[in-house]
């Protein structure tokens, strides 16, 4: 029944599309107004910055009027787009939404593929190739490109470089040295811990867990949008290692750590030697820490450094006129120009999305002054794909529940991951 409905809907849509493109209006001189809806997820004046970019764009494209709409957090932007389209209103032409929202948004036809516009560019492929590959990993679906990387971050490990040096430690390079260093740096007064060796928040665990599984040999997600790898030896070993940091080494708080908001303050005040967090916290960390801060990826079991990206991409919302679509695409490209990507990175703490942005003179001066900004980029060189599959909400909840049960010792890691895999497979069955 639902398949038939969907086929019917598809036919209607294709017909409507053909009809619409049949009477395309000429693109060019008529004034066009487009809007961009964006969230604010870091402590930076994103509104002010975007307004500035819009002004610059309008000076270059006098026919286009750009309005920026602050729309709350990431979930609020998505709800706004959904409500406006379902309610028959004029949705903003561009929206900054999570890179991992791709499948939900595309399936429900809230967004448009960008491929036709990229193909029409003089150097479309070169333009795409210039984005850091890890950031583009969540943009493809059904052989099309749907989003452009914009405000992006990555999982990183911050370490107190001064403390490591004073205590004669080098930067941990594998699981063994990470555990040993964390254990050495943990300080106790009686039964009270005065300094943890490492804190690794797991209140919303899939993101900070992914690099650990990768370091054990296998990411929990692959190229397919309907496959997850929860019950692999890699994921199970990664859980075992995570638990051992508290049980064997006594270097980390026990069980699930619902401490996302607190670990940065703990780190900058010297109360925790190393933390796993988002690169988005970098400017905050640098402005508050009175010691030398180092940034690295998560060490793998036998060496190497691992990470996954996060954050939001630019999506083109469906239901626009041809002129609006072109203007929206032009603005999206404008926002990702190397100099602007560099400027945005410097002013917000997000990682610049393109290789060429790192060659920008301002960016180089910035990195010379803050080597940590360059280190976050190095982390991305070996980053994998952030968990994004069909039916993401449900699959992620399943994974979170079993992963946390395993962290808390309520379930054996092997049994937990097998159960997670089974339930996730069932949740993905309809999409295969």
């Amino acid at each position: 029944m639902s398949t038939r409905l969907m086929t019917g809907a598809l036919i209607v849509l294709v017909a409507a599309g053909a009809f619409a493109s049949g009477q395309a209006e000429p693109v060019g001189d008529q004034p066009v107004t487009i809007q961009i809806a964006y969230p604010v997820a870091v402590d930076a004046p994103v509104a002010e910055i975007l307004d500035g970019y819009a002004e610059e764009f309008m000076a270059q494209y006098p026919n286009v009027e750009v309005e920026t709409i602050y729309a709350g957090g990431y979930p609020d932007v998505k709800t706004t787009i959904q409500t406006t389209i379902d309610g028959g209103g004029d949705a903003p032409a561009l929206a900054v939404m999570l890179a991992t929202d791709l499948f939900d948004l595309a399936n429900a036809q809230y967004i448009e593929p960008l491929t036709p516009y990229l193909d029409a560019m003089d150097d479309g492929q070169a333009y795409l190739d210039d984005f850091l590959p890890a950031f583009l990993a969540n943009s493809s679906y059904m052989d099309e490109i749907w989003s452009l990387p914009f405000q992006r971050s990555a999982v990183v490990m911050y370490y107190n470089a001064d403390l490591l040096q004073q205590t004669g430690h080098t930067v941990p390079s594998d699981w063994e040295s990470l555990a040993q260093t964390a254990s050495d740096l943990t300080e106790r007064t009686g039964d009270t811990v005065t300094r943890w060796g490492i804190e690794w928040p797991t209140g919303w665990p899939y993101w900070l867990f992914q690099p650990l599984a990768m370091g054990a040999g296998r990411n929990i997600v692959g190229d397919s949008d309907t496959e997850v790898y929860f019950d692999t030896p890699a994921a199970i070993d990664a859980i075992g290692y995570y638990n051992s940091l508290s049980h064997e080494y006594g270097a980390m708080p026990e069980g699930v750590q619902a401490s996302w908001g607190n670990v940065v303050p703990n780190f900058v005040s010297g109360n925790t030697a190393m933390i796993v967090h988002s690169s988005g916290s970098l400017s905050n960390v640098l402005s508050q820490a009175d010691f030398e801060v180092g940034v690295t990826g998560i060490p793998g079991r036998d060496g190497g450094s691992y990470s996954v990206p996060g954050g939001g991409n630019l999506y083109m919302v469906s239901g626009l006129s041809d002129a609006e679509k072109q203007a929206a695409f032009d603005f999206a490209v404008f926002l990702t120009e190397p100099a602007r990507a560099a400027d945005f990175s410097i002013r917000t703490g997000y990682i610049a999305t393109r290789e060429s942005a790192f060659a920008d003179p301002d960016m180089q001066a910035w990195i010379a002054e803050h080597p940590q900004a360059g280190q976050t980029r190095d982390v991305l060189a070996s980053a994998g794909k952030e968990l994004a599959v069909q039916n993401l909400g449900e699959v992620r909840t399943i994974f979170h529940n079993y992963l946390q049960a395993a962290f808390n010792g309520e379930m054996d890691p092997q049994a937990a991951m097998e159960a997670a895999q089974q339930e996730a497979d069932a949740a993905l069955e309809d999409f295969r």
């Binding site: 870091v42 908001g261 940065v264 900058v268």
Partner: protein, 282 residues
């Protein structure tokens, strides 16, 4: 005589214990508020960490300055007051009229109609986002304060609360007024509403509180800062998901938003209790 003395002493001891217990509970409940005030005054350069969550090296208003710079709070404040007033004033009219009709008259389909109204309380507001959006778009009210207020003009809760209050008032008063030649409107205005003051105040408090804090609908139905309420400003501080929480800044912003309502509540709490005292009848 001795017995009374002992009882008196026992009462005093009990009363004292009650006061101490009351103060203890009050302190416990106001702890988040107290902590917010302290946190907001901590210099921003000094992070919170294990064992260092109270006063910093000194007191600083810098968090407030930053909060005010990050969002146009004065404008947002005006909008919120307008919004809340616009909702409450209409709600009071519609709810008291509806409550009066259900309490005072007997008519065909009364129970069915009342049940239908009650059912509305069970529908979560999020489920109505799209239909509400369509209505507002049809009316051409997108991006106005009116659009934020309109979906809440009919209140099932208000109707229910006032009907119950009106039912508790003896019919004799209304009959007496009728004998004196009062119209239904006069009965409602001079007899029913004054006697139902506590319920009216209680409903007003809950309505103001709810709409003062509402974020999602105003955010969706508006796009310009000129019409947005305080919560839209607050969201800029609380949704910083990518980074660790800025407790000081967040506390400052929260207090800026909550303070007017808190003050209002302190004032109205007195009226609220008075209302109970004056309701008179048993």
């Amino acid at each position: 005589m001795r017995n009374t003395g002992r009882t008196l002493r026992a009462t005093t001891v009990l009363r004292g214990a009650g006061v101490v217990l009351g103060i203890g509970i009050a302190l416990l409940w106001s702890m988040p508020l107290i902590w917010s005030v302290i946190a907001s005054l901590r210099p921003p350069g000094e992070p919170f960490a294990r064992g260092q969550v109270w006063f910093g090296s000194g007191l600083s208003l810098e968090n407030y300055v930053r909060a005010f710079n990050l969002a146009p709070f004065a404008l947002y404040f005006r909008n919120t007051v307008l919004l809340v007033a616009l909702i409450l004033s209409v709600q009071l009219v519609t709810s008291s009229l509806a409550g009066f009709a259900f309490a005072f008259y007997r008519f065909r389909g009364q129970r069915v109609l009342f049940t239908v109204i009650l059912t509305q309380m069970m529908i979560p507001t999020v489920a109505l986002l799209v239909p509400n959006f369509q209505t507002i778009r049809f009316l051409g009210l997108y991006d106005t304060i009116l659009a934020m207020a309109m979906p809440f003009w009919g209140s099932a809760f208000g109707t229910f609360l006032l009907r119950q209050a009106f039912l508790g008032i003896p019919r004799d008063y209304a009959d007496a007024a009728m004998v004196d030649g009062s119209s239904w409107a006069q009965i409602l205005w001079h007899v029913y509403l004054p006697m139902a003051t506590p319920s009216v105040v209680a409903f007003s408090i809950s309505s103001v509180n709810w709409h003062w804090n509402n974020l999602l609908w105003p955010l969706i139905i508006s796009q310009s800062d000129t019409v947005r309420p305080l919560t839209a400003g607050l969201a800029r501080f609380t949704q910083l998901g990518e980074i660790g929480a800025q407790w000081g800044l967040m506390s400052a912003a929260t207090l800026v938003v909550a303070l007017p309502l808190l003050t209002l509540f302190v004032i109205f709490q007195k009226r609220f209790i008075e209302g109970f005292m004056n309701s008179g009848l048993k």
